[in-house]
């Protein structure tokens, strides 16, 4: 009898399709001819049906609450028949016991690279199966990269960086997986895809690097390759980023044989500045067009060196633009992709880290600036300086402003206004004016009050303090919306 299988991705935000569930779908739907249903989140519709098995994937630990809610919802859906529910994925692999304690379901840890993990009655290694794209049509949720072969050319990472979880769920470094074969299987099952998305955690650690690039080329991903009748450009993306320390002339040259768009280099620490810059120059040398580089912050860094790392990329953009205009090379464009460090066992996004240089106000400030730009940092210098400040002092000053001020700092059409000060909204000018009058110890005092980003603390201090300037700045925090609307009325 065909089994009824339910696949669930909790209702958290997710860009990439759930690869693990897609492979499980291939196992059940294609190999076992079972009836597979995929849902996002807690679906009341499926509660009236009988399910032989439910698979629930998990992702970031900070989606803990939603994940637990989802697991318990389906446990209840199955009348507490926990044995029929399989929970796997990253969160489940990082904190299996915590999850067990609140759901009563012992999660499957790590990859499905053994037949023992989900009570199989055959010897199929599910992790080796191609993903089943069909299930993505069953949900309204829009994933990106659905027209791409999704997979890996390597697994794991031999490094053991404390901020990174890869070692916990892929402890074994597998230096070679046949991408060509994987693509062939996808084509056979789901047809051709335009792009290739590889989620390798550290491809450059593989001694088979050249062979992997050759596999990718053999599968039709040569630089300049197009797809379909409309001749769309095919791209390859190693979306987990490349290790700047391992990039050298030969592997960057090798990379240039495939349409790597964008190249993503991790710039995790200012100490790697030299090697990072070297890697970027190499990419430029070999004609890399787009780069989208990961900037880790809130781990061991300071706001100052975070700013500096962003600035380095801006300078590169200026330099490469000039080179290009002078006909001296490719116009390499670098987007910075700030990634806030969240501890590996964080059950929400606001967990305290041990970093003393960043505080909640600063982190919030960065988040507001980034949200205006919808994520990545633009390559243009003018834009960057407007968003993050012309220097690190101004950057830190901006971070201390009320959210609404950060968001609405400049007048519409500011690009046409030459004078920097004249671009600013009057209340921001006012803020800057007051701020500029503060002595260094007063600035420290202001930072102390704002550091928790807690309106209660701000209110209390506002009522207590006798310092007129600080009072004024705190008042802006308490009344930012009113201040902005009153200017709008004028």
């Amino acid at each position: 009898m065909n089994k009824k299988i339910l696949l669930v991705e909790p209702a958290y935000e997710s860009k990439y399709p759930p690869l693990g569930l897609m492979k499980i779908s291939t196992y059940h739907r294609v190999l076992k001819n079972d009836d597979v249903t995929f849902v996002k989140g807690c679906s009341d519709k499926v509660r009236d049906e009988y399910w032989d098995r439910v698979y629930i994937t998990t992702l970031f630990t900070y989606t803990w609450k939603e994940t637990v809610k989802t697991i318990n919802f389906y446990r209840d859906t199955l009348f507490s028949f926990a044995r029929k529910i399989y929970v796997g994925g990253i969160l489940a692999s990082l904190m299996p016991n915590d999850l067990f304690n609140v759901t009563g379901i012992q999660p499957v840890v790590g990859l499905l690279n053994s037949t023992q993990k989900i009570d199989q009655d055959d010897d199929v290694i599910i992790d080796d199966l191609p993903p089943d794209y069909e299930i993505l049509n069953q949900v309204d949720f829009k994933y990106i990269n659905t027209d791409a072969y999704l997979g890996y050319a390597t697994r794991g990472c031999p490094r053991n960086c404390a901020f990174c979880a890869v070692n916990k769920f892929e402890p074994q470094f597998v230096p070679y997986i046949n991408v060509k074969e994987m693509i062939k299987m996808v084509i056979a099952q789901s047809g051709e895809k335009q792009n290739l998305l590889l989620m390798d955690n550290n491809i450059l650690c593989s001694q088979y690097f050249d062979k992997i690039i050759d596999d990718i080329k053999a599968a039709g991903f040569i630089r300049g390759a197009t797809f379909g009748k409309t001749k769309r450009r095919r791209i390859v993306d190693f979306n987990q980023g490349l290790d700047a320390r391992l990039l050298n002339d030969s592997n960057v040259k090798k990379f240039s044989e495939i349409p790597l768009e964008p190249m993503r280099i991790a710039f995790d620490d200012i100490k790697l500045k030299g090697r990072y810059m070297n890697a970027v120059r190499l990419a430029h040398k070999y004609g890399q067009k787009n780069m989208s580089n990961y900037i880790l912050y809130n781990y061991k860094d300071k706001p100052e060196d975070f700013y500096e790392r962003l600035k380095i990329n801006i300078r590169f953009n200026e330099e490469f633009k000039k080179d290009f205009e002078e006909g001296k090379g490719e116009k390499t464009t670098i987007y910075s992709f700030p990634m806030r460090y969240i501890p590996l066992d964080a059950k929400d996004r606001n967990m305290e880290t041990e970093n003393k240089y960043w505080n909640k106000r600063y982190l919030r400030g960065v988040q507001v600036i980034l949200s205006v730009m919808k994520g990545p940092v633009m390559p243009g210098a003018q834009f960057f300086e407007q968003a993050f400040g012309r220097n690190v002092e101004e950057f830190k000053e901006i971070l201390l402003m009320p959210d609404e001020f950060i968001r609405n700092r400049v007048k519409p059409g500011w690009q046409k206004i030459k004078n920097y000060t004249k671009r600013l909204m009057p209340y921001v000018k006012d803020w800057k004016n007051t701020y500029s009058k503060l002595e260094p110890e007063e600035i420290s005092e202001l930072i102390r009050v704002l550091s928790e980003n807690d309106i209660g603390i701000i209110k209390k201090y506002y009522l207590e303090t006798k310092n007129k300037n600080i009072k004024k700045l705190l008042n802006a925090h308490l009344d930012s919306r009113i201040i902005i609307s009153s200017y709008r009325i004028k």
């Binding site: 509660r47 009236d48 049906e49 009988y50 009348f79 028949f81």
Partner: protein, 480 residues
């Protein structure tokens, strides 16, 4: 060193065993049916002759349960009656098999007596348990173990029997009953309990589908049997009837029954029947038929709520009516008979239930209830518009009514109601005059003013405005 079985085990096996005093009656009935089966197997009794008699003597506070089953031979009587948890019964032939059920009475009377005789023998065996003394021995400080406590509190006699040599019976007698709220004296309650729980026949004159069910059960459920059980000489039947009483003064009728088999590969776990109903609501508790019941050897397992947790909402079980009979012998009731012993068969049984009944009926019942509430709202809207039209045609009845109807119509307009000339209706209700025409020459002015005032009061003071309107119409002698 030898392991010892302390005296407290007696406590757990007797009074501690069953959560309700009525359950011990079920245990004695179970033993009786086993004894009857044995007599039939041995060819000296037919099922039509077999009977179990329960006599409750309110005056003397005694309860006896007597069957004309095989009885116990005088040779084995001592062992069988005094051994604990050492039943010679076989699990696949008998309903009881643990050898502890008969001790259930120990907690609820001062003296418990077992009197029995096998056929073609002259001896009568009488085993008396001094319950009061046993309780005392368990409570006080002494070094008695179970065996010595039993020895000290029991008596065993064999005397020659005066009646017919062919007689065979077993009788459990409880003297000086003591149970909380005198439940064991509550004859109607005992009758109802037995009708729900015991393997009694369907009442064919009240339940038209009895034969259809009975025929199918005899075909499909091995060893399915019903027994004549009497309580103070009144025969007891299962409570099923064609008419089903629902909560809230509603009724439904069983149209037909559907048979269901729980089958997994080659294993048949259970078989049962389900009444076809309109699923209009919960079946009244008083009718004692609500909920799907589970029966092993035709004796109920658990209560009417046993399967509640396998519906999306527990109350959905009470919308249904039917019985499921276990077939596979590996599906064993636990010793309290409130569920099955935990096993893969139990798990599979409930899975099958969820799949075949719990989930599909949860869905249907929810849909029906949504349809009903939709219709209720629609009916309310129709009533409102009728009221408005009456007010336009014959006048309004109270100031409050006018205000309320205009408000309700405005709200209805906001909900895009199908009645498309709501605006006009609202306008004309606003223009409506009072039912009592003060300007007309008909009727005395003062009389009319008083009546108007009365209507105002009736409307204002009534919590249910709909009922207020009906009452006012009655006062005015207007047919609705």
């Amino acid at each position: 060193m030898e392991p010892k079985v302390g005296k407290y085990i007696l406590d757990s096996l007797s009074i501690g065993m069953y959560s309700h005093p009525l359950m011990l009656i079920r245990e004695y009935i179970q033993n009786s049916t086993d004894a009857i089966d044995e007599a039939i197997r041995n060819g000296f009794l037919s099922i039509d002759q077999a009977r179990i008699d329960i006599k409750i003597d309110g005056k003397n506070r005694n309860l006896t349960i007597k069957d004309n089953g095989a009885g116990i031979s005088f040779r084995n009587a001592w062992n069988i009656l005094l051994d604990l948890g050492n039943s010679t019964k076989r699990i696949n032939e008998n309903r009881g098999f643990r050898g502890i059920g008969r001790l259930g009475g120990l907690g609820y009377c001062d003296v418990l007596k077992f009197v029995t005789k096998a056929t073609n023998e002259d001896m009568l065996s009488i085993n008396t348990w001094n319950c009061e003394k046993l309780r005392q021995l368990i409570k006080e400080e002494n070094h008695l173990d179970s065996i010595n406590a039993v020895k000290a509190a029991t008596d065993f006699q064999q005397i020659s029997y005066k009646g017919s040599r062919k007689d065979h019976f077993f009788e459990a007698i409880m003297l000086d009953l003591r149970s909380s709220r005198d439940i064991l004296m509550n004859v109607p309650l005992i009758k109802e309990y037995i009708s729900e729980v015991a393997p009694v026949p369907y009442k064919r004159d009240k339940f038209g589908l009895a034969d259809k069910i009975e025929i199918e059960l005899r075909k499909r459920v091995p060893k399915y049997e019903t027994y004549r059980i009497f309580v103070n000489d009144e025969q007891i039947f299962k409570p099923y009837m064609d008419t089903v009483i629902l909560r809230g003064d509603k009724k439904d009728k069983i149209q037909d029954v559907e048979f269901i088999e729980f089958k997994e590969e080659n294993m048949i776990l259970a078989f049962g029947w389900l009444a076809q109903l309109k699923l209009l609501g919960s079946i009244s508790n008083f009718s004692r038929v609500g909920g799907i019941r589970v029966r092993g050897g035709n004796i109920q397992i658990g209560n009417r709520d046993l399967l509640n947790e396998f519906f999306r909402e527990g109350r959905f079980n009470s919308y249904l009516l039917g019985e499921i009979f276990t077939i596979d012998e590996r599906l064993v009731p636990n010793s309290r008979r409130d569920d099955f012993e935990d096993s893969p068969y139990r798990e599979e049984f409930y899975e099958q239930f969820i799949r075949r009944i719990g989930l599909p009926f949860s869905k249907i019942i929810r849909q029906k209830s949504q349809e009903r509430s939709k219709k209720k709202i629609l009916d309310k809207d129709i009533f409102l518009i009728d009221q408005a039209k009456n007010m336009i045609n014959t006048g309004y009845l109270a100031e409050g009514q006018k205000r309320w109807v205009i408000g309700a119509l405005t709200r209805l307009k906001g909900k895009n109601h199908q009645e498309n000339n709501l605006d006009e209706i609202i306008f004309r209700v606003g223009q409506a005059k009072h039912y009592i025409n003060m300007n007309s020459r008909k009727g005395k002015y003062r009389h009319k003013a008083d009546l108007k005032e009365i209507l105002e009061i009736v409307y204002r003071e009534s919590e249910d405005k709909g009922k207020a309107i009906k009452l006012i119409n009655k006062i005015l002698n207007v047919s609705n």
